[in-house]
């Protein structure tokens, strides 16, 4: 079968011109397609979508009130921060980037607020509140309240208070007013002069909305630039701190840009050194064209499968395609040998090396195909991308590249090793393998996996400091856990929300809870409350009115002074709706905690993200309540678990598939184990290094592992096949050169400040380094080769 490669070479050689034109056209078509690719920059593609709740938890976490908003804390040393905040807010409002700038609660609370609020009392009267009603109708309180009313009615505030006092002489409004506080405890704020102000009065808060997604790096740069422009308007001595996802995105993009200014020249210099030392001819440049073309082909094919491609996949796919240069190098060096050996034609050489390259490609494909079992859609897309890339590289290396590198030869300066075969017994090899495997398993079990997405991004010290300072001023408003209820109608959602509130009350967990339930209960709860109200006044109404009548006369009140109150408690009360709160001017509170999600209504409760609350909202409790508890800490824990399972699944599958293919290729246990040695060493070294430095494996380490497995498999196969090839001495060069270019190209990422780039760098440097050393020196030694 492998002689077909040689025949293909002979067939295409006279038609090299056509081949070149066709290949150029294909490359141009791919370049055009790639330039028009829809690249998605959504991090959710890198979250599991099939592990129960992670993806949906992530989607729900994004609905948290402060998840999408920018929060700006303004302070002004020795001066009123409100004025500085208003100046900044005015500048921000002028910029169309910011769609909404809020410095305080809505200001449309009217003069008649209290009189409008009072009719809500019956529908809001809980069991606990009815005890307060008993206290309000106590004779002693009635006397005190009427005396206070008289004073108020004679004070300058009488005009505003008269109607309220006439309708509510006993202070029933004081049952309702605290309920307004329940949904407004979003942050540790108080309202001063219509502005959000910290408890100590030294800081003012600005909440800013923008339509630009926080994952859009270019948009984030625009947001930050607009913010910087607005900052220039702050009065002298005033300061502002911005916290928000856009700032992180911008900082990360900037960090990557800064890193690349160091990494790219370093990689270029190192690669140039390798070229100057080992190749030094024009034809070798074609080898580098292979991975470039492969990225275009793989991107095009992946986009055709998925309709779009993740930016993360594109980036990491390019890293993974470091494997693709292997085959090109192997072909290049083998053909160099054929050029210097008159007995070897290129077709013959290609026929000789094609089994190793075919099995190398097959094992790489197997390793990458194992990624298809991942629960993470981005990793599955990465697998598809890389598979297309490997296949494209395989065909380009064997069918196209030979026609570009078979004319002239370069000066190869590596000394040719002369090998003599010396058989190695199986026992030491098995012992070595068991030792490596045991080490891998031990380190694998003891290496931590970190599912915290925040730690995978770069956070500058000043950003972290401002986030800490903001948290100290306003509390952990961005770190609250959420309980979601969902229903087809708004009232059904409120009903579920009532159950959640009652559940939290029953379990004494209502402190620091932000809920809509006390202010806007469901219709069913409202009817129960109304019934409670009516029952109370039926039992106590006449006595209370008689008591008031006797006391008000003594204080000089007219007999009709409190007729509105008498009417209020004797009239059948009504329930109210969301619109009633809108009329009161407190719709903003409702909007924060209630929202629509397509055809459904969502109502959320916010509570501290503590272990106790997480334990309280167990799976059983969630089922019983028809609610979902979502918290950042639980999300990170779930993500870590899912990633752990993912790593085990795909590394296990990849190793098993690669082992099987090696067994089929070599049909010899010793050679099979030998060929697997570089993979084992590579993966084990990565795990051991992580363990030694106390680092946890993150998503970026994990997506880099297939590179180690793929390259390790190639190195192993090439080196074990080497004795059977006439160009055997060139194989080591190909492996060395492949390893060095990978280390120079991607290992230099270890210099990066950005955690993602650094993670890839450390994985490639340790894993590929170990695999390469094992393949070049340990495998030949154990294979009975002697220099």
């Amino acid at each position: 079968m492998f002689h077909l490669v040689g025949r293909a070479y002979d067939f295409l050689a006279p038609r090299r011109g056509y081949l070149l034109v066709l290949f150029a056209l294909a490359c141009l078509a791919c370049s055009f397609f790639v330039s028009r690719l829809v690249v998605r920059e959504d991090i959710s593609t890198m979250l599991p979508d099939d592990s129960g709740r992670i993806a949906s938890d992530f989607a729900l976490l994004r609905l948290a009130p402060f998840a999408q908003r920018l929060t700006i804390t303004v302070s002004h040393n020795g001066a009123n921060p409100i004025q500085a905040a208003e100046v900044l807010a005015t500048a921000l409002r002028r910029d169309p980037v910011f769609t909404r700038v809020l410095t305080g609660p809505p200001s449309n609370i009217s003069l008649t607020f209290l009189t409008k609020l009072l009719p809500l009392a019956p529908a809001l009267l809980t069991e606990q509140d009815s005890k307060t009603l008993y206290a309000l109708t106590d004779p002693e309180h009635v006397q005190t309240a009427l005396e206070q009313n008289k004073r108020d009615l004679l004070s300058p505030g009488a005009v505003a208070l008269k109607n309220v006092i006439q309708q509510d002489p006993l202070g029933i409004r004081n049952i309702v007013l605290p309920k307004l506080a329940a949904p407004s405890r979003l942050a540790d704020v108080r309202i001063e002069d219509g502005h959000f102000v910290s408890r100590d009065g030294k800081h003012a808060l600005i909440l800013v909305d923008t339509d630009i997604p926080m994952t859009d790096s270019l948009g984030a740069a625009k947001v930050m630039s607009s913010y910087q422009e607005a900052l220039a308007t702050l009065p002298e001595g005033a300061q502002a701190m911005l916290v928000g996802g856009h700032r992180h995105t911008h900082a990360n993009a900037q960090a990557i840009k800064d890193d690349l200014t160091i990494i790219l020249p370093s990689a270029f210099i190192l690669l140039a050194l390798i070229f100057l030392l080992f190749m030094r001819n024009r034809q070798s440049l074609y080898v580098f064209l292979v991975p470039v073309c492969v990225v275009g082909v793989a991107g095009t094919a992946t986009a055709l499968v998925y309709g779009s491609i993740s930016g993360i996949v594109l980036g990491f796919g390019a890293v993974l395609l470091g494997i693709s240069v292997d085959y090109a190098l192997h072909v290049y060096f083998a053909l160099q040998n054929s050029n210097t050996d008159e007995n070897q034609t290129p077709a013959h050489t290609l026929t000789q090396i094609s089994p190793a390259i075919t099995f190398g490609a097959l094992t790489s494909c197997t390793a990458l195909a194992a990624l298809l079992v991942s629960d993470i859609p981005g990793i599955r897309q990465l697998a598809v991308f890389s598979l297309f890339g490997i296949i494209a590289s395989f065909f380009m290396s064997l069918l196209i590249l030979p026609h570009f590198v078979t004319k002239k030869t370069g000066s190869l300066i590596i000394k040719t090793p002369h090998n003599a075969r010396r058989s190695c017994s199986l026992a030491p090899l098995i012992a070595l393998w068991i030792a490596i495997l045991s080490a891998g398993i031990w380190f694998g079990q003891h290496t931590r996996i970190n599912g915290d997405l925040r730690e995978m991004s770069f956070t500058p010290i000043e950003v972290q400091a401002e986030e800490d300072a903001t948290r100290a001023v306003w509390g952990s408003m961005r770190d609250l856990a959420l309980i979601f209820v969902r229903a087809q109608t708004f009232d059904n959602a409120l009903e579920k929300n009532d159950h959640v509130w009652n559940f939290l009350q029953t379990n004494n967990a209502t402190s620091s809870i932000i809920s809509l339930a006390p202010l806007l209960p469901s219709m069913q709860t409202q009817l129960q409350n109304v019934a409670r109200w009516e029952a109370f006044w039926q039992a106590n109404g006449q006595n209370t009115l008689a008591l008031m009548d006797s006391k008000q006369k003594a204080l000089g009140f007219s007999p009709s002074a409190f007729s509105p109150f008498s009417e209020f408690i004797s009239t059948s009360p009504e329930t109210f709706s969301n619109e009633s709160l809108h009329e009161l001017g407190i719709q903003e509170f409702v909007d924060v905690l209630a929202m629509r999600d397509n055809d459904e209504f969502l109502v959320l409760t916010l509570l501290p993200d503590t272990m106790e609350n997480a334990a309280l909202l167990s799976d059983d409790a969630e089922r019983e309540l028809g609610a979902r508890f979502v918290s950042g800490s639980r999300f990170r824990e779930l993500l870590g678990d899912a990633m752990r399972i993912d790593v085990l699944c795909f590394t296990g599958s990849a190793l098993a598939g690669v082992a099987l293919l090696n067994a089929i290729l070599f049909r010899n246990p010793r050679k099979t184990l030998l060929a697997l040695l570089p993979i084992g060493m590579g993966v084990t070294t990565v795990l051991a290094t992580m363990y030694y430095f106390g680092q946890a494996l993150n998503l970026f380490h994990i997506v880099s592992l297939p590179l180690i497995i793929g390259l390790g498999a190639d190195y192993g196969i090439f080196m074990v096949c080497r004795p059977e090839q006439s160009a055997q001495h060139q194989t080591a060069r190909a492996v060395l050169f492949s390893g060095l270019t990978t280390l120079c190209g991607f290992g230099v990422l270890v210099l990066a400040r950005h955690p993602a780039l650094h993670s890839i760098g450390i994985t490639v440097l340790t894993g590929v380094g170990a695999a390469m050393i094992t393949a070049l020196w340990v495998v030949p030694a154990l294979n009975g080769e002697r220099r």
Binding site: L111, K162, G556
Partner: protein
């Protein structure tokens, strides 16, 4: 909530406006704009106000008209005292951001930063004391009802305020330099009338009066 009390302080501040400017509003000024402009110009010369008052509350909630009395003090830039001395003792005083309110049996401190109601008072007071004509015209329709003695009628523009307050009347004395009468007419017919006497402008006022 805060705005619900704004009206009350419009009332107080209207009084201070009256005290500040009454002495300068002469009968020969027939044009309201000229009167107001003159008042504004003279306002800068006023440093303090001290006056006694008696208040008649003709309110439907009470069987009879209730008479109370007390005193009103103001000193630039941000000091205010409003207190009733009969039939009960109660009131409040403000100095900068800090204030205190009292009854016969209680005395409590407050801060403008944490008390939106009193914060509104201070802000409104400053606006009136400096006779911010733009603000005044934005809040009220002002007409000159009579020029001998000068009688200003202030009709609220805001619909919320107009819901309960029909208008304010401020009457100045021909012979004296102070306001003589302020009337607060409510939409339901209730009336509060305050008569001022022994009014003094720019007399020294002890800091302790505002604490």
């Amino acid at each position: 909530m805060g705005r619900s009390h704004t009206l009350a302080f419009h009332f107080i501040l209207t009084l201070s406006l009256g005290f500040i400017f009454s002495g300068h509003a002469s009968a020969d000024l027939r044009d309201i704009d000229a009167v107001l402009q003159k008042l504004r110009e003279r306002a800068t010369a006023v440093e303090s106000i001290s006056s006694e008052f008696s208040q008649e509350s003709h309110l439907s909630v009470f069987e009879e008209t209730i008479i109370s009395s007390g005193r009103f003090l103001f000193r630039k830039p941000d000091k205010l005292r409003w207190e009733y001395l009969s039939p009960t003792t109660e009131g409040f005083a403000l100095e900068g951001d800090q204030g205190v309110r009292w009854t016969e049996t209680t005395r409590t401190s407050f801060s403008l930063r944490s008390d939106p109601l009193m914060n509104v008072v201070a802000r409104q007071l400053l606006a009136w004391a400096t006779f911010d004509l733009a603000w005044l015209s934005a809040e009220y329709f002002i007409t000159l009802e009579a020029d001998s003695p000068v009688l200003l009628k202030l009709v609220p523009k805001g619909s919320d305020t107009a819901l309960v307050l029909k208008h304010l009347l401020i009457e100045f004395s021909l012979s004296s330099t102070t306001v003589q009468r302020v009337e607060l007419h409510e939409q339901d017919g209730d009336l509060t009338r305050i008569l001022f006497e022994n009014s003094q402008v720019n007399t020294p006022l002890d800091d302790g009066m505002f604490r």
